[in-house]
Structures are given as structure tokens and as C-alpha cells.
């Protein structure tokens, strides 16, 4: 059944690695809905967090093909309940609407958001959460006149990832002594 999955991929730091990973999704006609990448706690090892709409069966095969790439350590498919995740959104609103439309301060506090910057023209609100919360918040901000909205990809921690990270640290040691 088609649903949203999180795919995590651990890679070496290598030019073109994103392309190498994404073409494997492309070949199977899977649309990537978000992609985030950053260095892990092990120097030189990067983690990609990719969200896709697909089926488990297809993704298990995709992950196998990703792992086949030389610079990939491991790749995993996660169900919704296997990861703790967040996304981050920024909302830009015209300052002139602040006084006319209602109690924005209350709205921000109730939704665990915060103001990042205020200028004479606009102010920027930040909120982290799951996709649905972030888009729901757009509706709540609408009376104030939303100028711009932008959202990050998913950042995820896998609940059972400890063993894998120990493996990575071992690798790190083995290369040091090699």
C-alpha cells in the first residue's frame, strides 16, 4: 500500500552522492517529497533523510540498490512509528496587519512557535513540528495575511539506531588504524 515512508541513508562525503541516490528513486518512478542531509557525529559520514510516498516492497528494493553504491554505508526504510522526526517552517507576515487582525502573540504562544525577526514591513515566525501541524498553522495565520511560507525537509532520529552508529564508530577507528 502506498504511504509515506522515511528513508535514511548513511554516506561518505562525496561530490555527486545526492544525484547517485536520487536517480535510483527516479528510475522506479518514486517521487521524493523531501530530502535533508547533514554530517553525522562521525566525521566524513553524512546522513540523508528522505521522505517518499511509495510501498514498502518497492522501497526495500530501492534501499538495496542504494546500498550497492560504493560510497553508501547503509540505507534503511522506516515506518512512521520507528522514527522521531521534526520539520521546520518559517512564515512571513506583513507587520501592518498585526494591530488590526487579532491577538497574534497568543496564537504564537499556543502553537509553540516563536518570532525570529521583526522589521517595519514584516515579521518572521518559526515553528517546528510535523507536516500537518505546520500547514495547519498557515490557516491560523491567514487572517494576518501570509506573505510567504517555507518548510524544511524532515530531520529524523531512528529509535533503534544505536547499534548502527556503533558500527560506524568502529569503522571510523578501523580507518584510523589502517
Amino acid at each position: 500500500m502506498q504511504k509515506e515512508y522515511t528513508v535514511t541513508v548513511y554516506t561518505e562525503d562525496r561530490i555527486g552522492i545526492t544525484n547517485r541516490i536520487t536517480i535510483i528513486f527516479t528510475r522506479r518512478g518514486i517521487n521524493i517529497t523531501s530530502l535533508t542531509t547533514a554530517e553525522t557525529e562521525i566525521p566524513g559520514v553524512y546522513k540523508f533523510v528522505i521522505t517518499v510516498m511509495s510501498t514498502r516492497e518497492k522501497l526495500d528494493k530501492v534501499v538495496g540498490q542504494i546500498e550497492r553504491l560504493i560510497e553508501i554505508h547503509r540505507a534503511f526504510v522506516h515506518e512512521e512509528d520507528e522514527v522521531v522526526y521534526q520539520e521546520l517552517a518559517l512564515y512571513k507576515i506583513a507587520t501592518k496587519n498585526l494591530t488590526t487582525a487579532g491577538d497574534v502573540e497568543k496564537l504564537i504562544r499556543e502553537n509553540n512557535a516563536r518570532i525570529l525577526t521583526i522589521t517595519a514591513d514584516y515579521f518572521v515566525i518559526e515553528k517546528t513540528g510535523h507536516q500537518q501541524e505546520l500547514t495547519d498553522f498557515i490557516k491560523k495565520l491567514e487572517p494576518y495575511g501570509l506573505i510567504e511560507y517555507t518548510k524544511s525537509g524532515r530531520v529524523a532520529i531512528v529509535k533503534w539506531s544505536r547499534r548502527f552508529h556503533e558500527h560506524l564508530k568502529e569503522l571510523d577507528k578501523s580507518i584510523a588504524s589502517y
Partner: protein, 583 residues
Amino acid sequence: MQQKDVLPMKPETEADKRLAAKPVITGSEAVIRSLIAEGVDTIFGYPGGAIMPIYDALYDFQDQVHHILVRHEQGATHAAQGYARSSGKVGVAFATSGPGATNLVTGLADAYMDSTPMVCITGQVAAALLGTDAFQETDVIGITMPITKWNIQVTRQEDIPGAIAKAFYIARSGRPGPVLVDITKNAQAGTCEFEYKKCEFIRSYQPVPELNPEAVTAAAALINSAKKPYIFCGHGVLLSGAENELIQLAEKAQIPVASTLLGLSAVPVDHPLYGGLLGMHGNYAPNMLTCECDLVIAVGMRFDDRVTGDVSTFVSQAKVIHIEIDAAEIDKIIKADVAIHADAKTALEALTQLVMPARHDAWLEEFKFGHEKEYDKVQKRELYPEEGQIKMAETVRLISEKTNGEAILVTDVGQHQMIASRYYRFKNPNTNITSGGMGTMGFSVPAAMGAKMGAPEKTVVAVVGDGCFQMTLQELGTIYQSQIGVKMVILNNNFLGMVRQWQQLFFDKRYSSTEMVNPDFIQIAKGFFIPGKKVTAREDLAAAIDEMLATDGAYLLEVVVEQEDNVFPMVPAGAPVSTIRLE
């Protein structure tokens, strides 16, 4: 795959003396010296502006590295493939940037599909010009990303030895494949200190998985309790050099073995347990009996759709053991009951120890019935026709008889490929070289050239269609210039035969653009100073083959064959293999 280490060398020539020191050299010289350190003595290539410094460096090493000037870069890749497949070494090709590099694409994709170890080195515009649409700049790294096992662009000369070391390690280890190293012109020209260290470890890459003894035990239990076990032999058997181990397992438990197209020649055709060729144009019994067996032991094969037909019905009644070095192949098409993720040789050795001697006489008899049926309905009239025009199959039979099954057979793509694969009686491993996964027309002439360079002591025969021949016939120039003694047999039916067969069977005989008006092939060969003969009558065929084999050096034999001959048996594309048609 063992590479002989060429360094250090006897300090005899100028080049040798220079190698003895640890001097400061150009990136180009570092390329050549790195290749020599990897045991490379043959390179197929074509020069051009962006790779000229490397060619210039090559000039000093002519006594150690033999460069074969091909006539088209596609030819260089197929030649490197043929070389790799016949010698067990890594094939090497050179090309310049832009058009030179893009001409490698077909051969790279072909080598990727067929797991052939190859290292291609391309020149690239200077690093400062990258991304500016400079003259003959193309993003060869981007283009070849999905069709190489690995590729890298080197922009600094000091990175050249490391990149080449990695390239060879990756190309030949694990599941082999093609690798591309793109080197910018500034890196070729700049100087650096040279030291070469072979690569033996990449922390994110585990080429040979550890054998899991539990899986082996589970597999042995399945084999020991099977009534109708059946081995599928794939290319992986040849790549890991596991032919003997496979035969030992088969003999110990008396299990019939069928081969995939690329697994051909791993088991001698006359072995009593050899059951024939699987797949769309394979043999009748081995295909039909996939529906009868209760256990499949698939070794180093990937359940290509040309083998499985309709996947939902393929071996659905049987348990499946899959021995495979590439984890991504396991459960990709067919779900394995027991997966042994390992090198074929290691896995088979371990498995054979745990397998009990057994007999499966009745099961083996079933193959015999199938063979008799196929022989009566198809093979007899194909192999021993008495009238009408010459048949492809009888030509292949004669080649097989006259080379005693010991030649390296290189085939192109089409009807002649299937006929040759069906009827050549392979005796020795690695004597079947063909384009399996890609089905690349034009493969055979350059690949045969490379195969002959890789195994000069062997007779190499290319069997090629009239259409395929015209895709890469320019390599006749290379064959002449480099005096490569390949035998080429054109089976000329004046059609793109395989496509015509499909049009006849599935498109109501509408022969859309498949008829070929052909040139005088013998005259063309003559232009390249290659002797040849055209045969149209059956009574002249045997003598012509004798003459070809007796001729020193290259030879072109054109055999005019029946125009609308068809290859049977045949499993229609995507249909269950049980629907295999004998006529």
C-alpha cells in the same frame, strides 16, 4: 581475479630506469605508471585534444603497454569487455573528452549490465573551464553515473594514483563492473611525486560478504529433502571461478544444471547433468521443467525477465535457494526461501560438504524426454537439413564440430546469437562472450578483437548478423592494423532477423523497416586487407569453415542463410515459460 604485479621491472629500457626512482612526474605519466602497477599491458583507445598528454606519456612506455587504436570509442569499450571476459583481467579503454567520452556510453552500459570489470579513462577540459561549456566539455560523470559501478573526476595530479587504484579495486572486486575515471587536462599536465599503493579497502564498501553458515545449513537441508532439485547456473559462477565447485555439487547430489545466457560455458555442454539453456530462446526441457522442480538452486544469476517470462508463475511451485554476491539482487525479482549472500565459489564449497549424495534418476529422465521432443520437432531439421538454403544452426554446428567446442565464441545480438548460444557445444569456461543484459548490436566484432588479445592462443570466432556487422564494421581497420587473428562469420539473412521474426509472429507479418539491402561484405573486408569468402551453397560450407580456421590471422566468412528462418523454441515476452512454443 588475480592481477600479476608488474612492478618492479628489470631496469633495461629507458622507461624502466625511470620507473626505478621515485621522481617527480606529470599526471599523465602517473596514469600510465599506475596502470602498469595494476598489471595492465593492453589498452584500447582513441586519442583527442583533452587526452593528448596521456597519449604523449604512453609513447615512452610502448614496450610495456600495448595500445590498440580502435576506429570508434564504442569499439574500445567492447574490445575491453571482450579482453576482460577472455583473460579474467580488467579491460582498459581510453577516450578523449566530449564526443570521445559519449561514445563510451553504450559499452559502459553493456559492461554494467553484464558485470564486466573495465576501467575507462577519459580526458576532460582543464578544471578552470569545467562547467563553462568549453570546447568538447561534457558532463561525463553525470552521464555515466547510472551505468558505472563507480566514477570519479580527478582535477589534481596528486589524486591520480589514488583514483586509479580505487578504480581497479572497485572494477574487479565483488560483483565486477565498469568504472570511469575522468581526468582534467591540467591534472594530466601538472607534476607530482609518484608513489603507487594498491587499494584494498574502502570503508563504505564490502565487496565480498561473509558467508552465513546458518543459511548454508538451511540450504543443504532443502537440497537433502528435495525430490526434484534444479541448479540454475549464472554468470556469477564464471566470475567467481566456481565452475568446478558447481559441478561437484551437481554430481554429488545428481542435480541437473541449466544455464542462463551468460552462464553458458561454465558447465561443458556434454556433461551428463547439463540440462541446457534457460530463457526466451533456450531449450524446451530446461524451461518446461522450471514448472516441475520442487527446488531451485540459483547461483550467480539475477532472474532476468528473459529467463523468467511471467514472474508470477515462474518457479512458483518450488522452494528457491539464491546464492548471490550482490545483496540488491536477492529478493529483487524472485523471493528466496534461503538466500546465501556470498561469493559463489565459497558458498558452493561449503554447501557441497553438507549435501548428502543422492540420486534423482526419474527426474533426470524428464530432461531426456524434453530433449528428445525438442530434437524431433526443432533441432533435427535445424542442424541437419537436407534441402533448401543453408541454415544458421547447421553453420554453428559445423563451427562447433570443427573447433571441437574449444573456440571462444563471441556472438552479436539477434537470431544468430540465440542460434549460436543454443548450438555451440562449449567445452571450457569463459568461452562464451555475448551481450546479455543490454543486447547491444555491434558488440561482437570489437569484443572478439579484445577477446583474441586477451587469449591469443585460442581460436576466437565471432558469429554476427548482417545488421550487427554494419554497426561496428569499422573495427576491421583495427583488426588489420593490429593484426588480430579473429574469425568472423556473418550469418546473412538480409533481414534484421530477430525483429522480423517478432513481426511475423506478433505483428501480422508487417515487415516494417527490417529488410536490409546489404553491401558486398567480402569486398569490404578486402578493402581492409582481410581475406574472406561468401558461401551460398550447402556443399561449400564445410570447406569454407575449414579454410577460415586454417587461415593465419583474421578471416571473414559470409554465409547466406535462409531468409525467413525462425528461432524456436520461444517463450513469448512476458508469458509464463510453460507456454514455450516449439514451432
